[in-house]
Structures are given as C-alpha cells and as structure tokens.
C-alpha cells in the first residue's frame, strides 16, 4: 500500500515548550489513522504542522510524494489536504452553499461546475436542506458537517479531522461515523484526532498514541488497547468519556 503521508522526526518548539518531538509515522492510501492522547499531548500542533499553519523546527513531512515541510497552508491545501478545526471556523456571514462553494472553487473558476460540486457535497454531508441558511445559525453538529463539506468540496486526497465527535449526541455521533466511513470508501485517506475511544477503535485501521509531545506507539486498535504502557499513560484513569 503506497503511503499518502510520511511524517519523519517531526519536532516543533514554541520558545521553551517542546510541543512535538521526534514523531515518525505514515498514513497509507485509503487508510483511516486515529490520533489519540491526553490533552496537551501535541495532537493539534501536529495537525497544524501537517496542514502548514506552523512550520516544523526539525523533521520533514512528505505528502503524496512531495516534501511539504516548508510549504504554506494554502499551498498544502491545494495539493489535496483538507482539514477541519477543533473549534469550527465557519464563515458565519455566508450561507451554507457559499461556505462549500469556496471549497469547490479551489480547482475551477467556473461557477457552474463549482455549483454542481457544491450540490453533490451537500447531499453527501446531508446539508442540502439547509442550503440557504447562514452558517452562523447552524447547530454544533451541522457546523462540523459543514466544515467537512467545505473540505470535501476541494476533492482532497487526505482529510485531517480535528475532534469531529466532540460535543455531539449519540445519534449525531453515529451519523458522523457513517459519514467518515462513506468518505473513506470514496478513496479519501483520513487522519483524525479523537478523544472518544469507542469511535477511534471502530473507525481507524491504525492508531497513533501521543503523550506529552512524543510518540508512544503506533498500532492496530487491538494492539493499542492491550498495551500496558498506553493504558497506564492514557487509559489508566478510565476513559473520561461518559458511557
């Protein structure tokens, strides 16, 4: 299986704080990789480095065969990396359609083709019925789906999902999982940060465990849950999610 994303010795330092240190793992094409770890383990920093919001202090990131370590966020996005944000950054003064249209416009300036892409993506993320609503007026679940729709409209090869399950009710979570699996089946590899262990275990092919900026282990969900170190470092206190 060809690797869509190769992260080697990723290190990011903010002044004194070593947010990420020597993280190395790959994401295969069409694979779903979950990233877990306690708060402050450097998960979002890693995401920001992959998506280009930060540049690494040391190490390299290769996406689809190209070295993107020094590239800026918009260049990486154009190469096919879609991303969502921990706190949804929706464009509140624009309608749902316009939010997704902006994504669709990445590859084509022709408004008609873009409109078709928008319609298709809205149906995929089942937001078609909210087409003309202002993004600011959506609820949390819909805002998260809108972010995914905006990212999907750019036809990404890799989708970075940042805690898409946070704050969702049980049914909303189920829909979100179905959506992720449907997107994966369309050939999009996914790297997702997730606190909800059940979702991570059912959805991801492999799981990356980060603890205080370092890579503890990479393995299948079964290996991760049975590994004593992971349990003590992360799961020891019992899973903090409700059920």
């Amino acid at each position: 299986m060809r690797n869509i994303l190769e992260i080697t010795d990723a290190t990011k330092q903010f002044g004194g704080l070593m947010a990420n240190e020597g993280i190395t793992f790959n994401v295969g094409e069409g694979e779903i990789v979950g990233v877990v770890g306690p708060n402050g383990a450097g998960k979002t920093t890693l995401f920001n480095s992959v998506s280009g919001a930060h540049t690494l202090t040391r190490g390299s990131i290769v996406f689809d065969g190209q070295d993107v370590t020094q590239k800026k966020a918009h260049e990486i996005a154009r190469l096919g990396v879609g991303r969502t944000f921990q706190i949804p950054q929706s464009l509140n003064e624009m309608t749902v359609t316009e939010n997704v249209l902006v994504g669709a416009l990445m590859h084509t300036a022709d408004m008609k083709k873009a409109a078709e892409k928008v319609q298709e993506t809205l149906e995929l993320c089942n937001l078609a019925h909210r087409k003309d609503m202002l993004a600011g007026k959506l609820n949390v679940a819909q805002k998260k789906r809108l972010e995914i729709a905006r990212a999907m409209a750019t036809d990404p090869k890799l989708l970075l999902l940042d805690e898409t399950m946070a704050g969702l009710t049980a049914t909303e979570r189920k829909d979100a999982v179905d959506l992720i699996l449907k997107i994966n089946r369309m050939g999009v590899s996914i790297l997702t940060i997730e606190h909800n262990m059940d979702v991570v275990m059912t959805v991801s092919n492999r799981v990356v465990v980060l603890v205080s900026g370092k890579l503890l282990m990479v393995g299948t969900p079964e290996e991760v849950t049975s590994n004593p170190e992971v349990i003590s470092a992360y799961l020891g206190g019992g899973s903090d999610t409700d059920e």
Partner: protein
C-alpha cells in the same frame, strides 16, 4: 455576462431599477441651478469612492482609514501630466488607476500583515506621510496645488466642459460601469475569496486561498477605483491642493459613505453617498450661519444612523418591516 448582471432579480425589481435610472438621467434637466448639478456630481463621485473602498473594507474586511492617499494620487495623476505634458485625461485617468494599483501593491505587502485597528492606524499614518511628501515636493507644486483650467481647449479631449451636466452624464456612466464591474466580480471567485478572508483567515487558508496575495489584489482594485474617483473630482473642480484632498477627514468620509449605505453590499455606497452628500450640503446651506450647528447636527445624525442601523441604510426597510410585524403581532396578541 448579462445573466450574472441581471440573473437574480425579478422582473419587478428590474422595472424599478429602470425607473430610477430614468429619473437619475432626467433630474439635471429639471433644475437650472449649478448648485444642484454640483450636488449630483459630488454624489456620483462619492459613490465611486465608496464602492472603491467597499472592495477592501466591505468585501475583504480590511478596513483602511487612509484611502485619501489614493484619492489625492488620482487627482495628481490627472493634473500633473496635463501641466507638464499636456496629456489628455482619457490617457491620464487609466494611467492614474494603474499607478495607484502599483502603489497599493508596493505598500500592500508589508502593511497588510497587520490587522484591525493597527492596520487602520498604519494606513492613516501612510496617508499623512504622502500628504507631507506632496506638500513639500516641488514636482507636485508643493502646497500651491495644481490648476488644470486651460482656456479654449478641446472639451472632449481634455474633459473640460462648461456645462456641468455633461460632467454629470459622463460620470454617471462611469459610475454604472464601476457598479457593473463590482456586481460581476461579486459573482466571481475573486469576491467569494475576499469574503472568505473577511469571514476567517484560517478557514480561507484551509481551502487553498493565498490570503496575503488576495488581500493585496483587493487593495490594488480598491486603490484603482478610488483613484478613478480622485481623477474625476480633479477633472470637475479643475483645481486641487493636497490640503483639501489627502486629509484624515476625507478618508473617514469615504468610509462613512460605504458604512452608512451598507457595508459589503454592491449598492450600499451609492445610497450612502446620496444620503451623506445631501445631508452635508443642506445642513450647510440652511444652518451654515449658526457657526458650526450644521456640523453638530451632521455628527449626531451619523451617530444615530450608525448606532441604530449597523447594517447600513439598505437594511432600513427590512428593519421597518420587522418593526411593523412586531407591532402587528403585539396588537394581535393584545386583542
């Protein structure tokens, strides 16, 4: 192209639009007074300035308080070539727009890294710098200003008409062209990207928008249109000096026109220009002699409008309708 222009308007709206345009064309024929032509021409010029600023402040969310710099440069780019080379404005005006776009490109890169108040203050300081340079430079006649009035010159070639109505028609058509350009662009990727940047710069980067390049492009387009407004003003007044063109007051008036009308909308600046110009001319004409009372009234009106109508005057009817519905529903409940 026509579809994007009139695509999303019902037949009724187009009819109303046509009626208003006809009124706008007939208006100068009805009155004889130069004062009224003067008012109409200033409205048209200020609409262009408002639309220019709106590209940057309204659509792209980068609020600059220094656009009087481009307004002044626009005037200089028409005045100086005429003075030194006798160049006709038909060539000088486009040259002025490109010049201002280049100035915006050069200035844009460093200045647009700033955001919010810092950006606004930086543009204010820039406008002041440019004014000092123009006031102290021999090339721009320093503070003496530029006099463009030439006797017995071909009116068409040098745009120096005796009857102000010709100015009005010409400027009205230019305004419509600028309006059409803004309308078309607002349906194109360029303005969607600008509105995304206004919404949230991180989200914009995540969908592949090179934020700083698009900001600079918006600044260039905005500078070009405002410079067009400056050139038309200079061509109409035929005399200008830096002290009356490149001041903070002018910059704030440009912002006021767009915000009062409706920021981020295509037609907002036109409505804003109409209201502000009429307001300032009539308060001055009627209350002028009470030593400043007209400006006090003007200031209060601005405060009231901006306070109670943040969306600008375009949202006034919607607000009134909303008020009516609320009253009706209250009466319904009371019955």
């Amino acid at each position: 192209m026509l579809k994007t222009l009139f695509g999303d308007y019902s037949k009724k709206q187009l009819a109303i639009g046509a009626v208003l345009i006809v009124i706008a064309l007939i208006l100068p024929q009805l009155t004889k007074s130069l004062f009224m032509y003067n008012l109409l021409i200033l409205i048209v010029i200020w609409s262009i300035l408002g639309m220019g600023w709106n590209v940057m402040g309204g659509f792209c969310g980068q609020v600059s308080n220094g656009h009087s710099m481009f307004y002044g440069f626009g005037a200089y780019c028409v005045g100086l070539p005429l003075q030194y080379f006798g160049l006709s404005p038909w060539i000088a005006i486009p040259f002025g727009m490109c010049f201002c776009a280049c100035v915006a490109w050069v200035i844009g890169k460093p200045v647009l890294r700033l955001k919010g108040h810092a950006f606004a203050i930086c543009t204010m300081a820039l406008a002041e710098c440019m004014r000092y340079i123009c006031v102290n430079m021999e090339f721009t006649n320093g503070a003496k200003g530029v006099n463009m009035f030439k006797k017995g010159v071909n009116p068409i070639l040098f745009l120096q008409f005796k009857d102000p109505r010709v100015y009005y028609y010409l400027y009205f058509v230019i305004m419509l062209i600028v309006l059409a350009v803004t309308k078309i662009l607002s349906k194109k990727r360029f303005f969607y990207y600008l509105r995304t940047i206004k919404g949230n710069e991180d989200a914009a980067a995540s969908v592949g928008i090179d934020v700083s390049r698009y900001k600079v492009r918006a600044y260039m387009l905005s500078a070009a249109i405002v410079s067009l407004g400056g050139s038309l003003y200079a061509q109409y007044m035929l005399y200008f000096d830096p002290a009356s063109m490149m001041t903070l007051n002018v910059s704030m008036m440009i912002v006021l026109v767009a915000v009062m009308g409706g920021i981020g909308t295509v037609f907002g600046p036109i409505l804003g220009a109409i209201v502000i110009e009429c307001l300032s001319e009539f308060t001055r004409a009627s209350l002028g002699q009470y030593g400043g009372l007209d400006m006090v009234l003007y200031g209060c009106l601005v405060i009231i409008i901006v306070l109670f109508l943040p969306g600008g005057l375009l949202t006034l009817p919607a607000k009134i309708r909303e008020y009516m519905d609320r009253k009706a529903s209250k009466e319904g409940a009371a019955k």
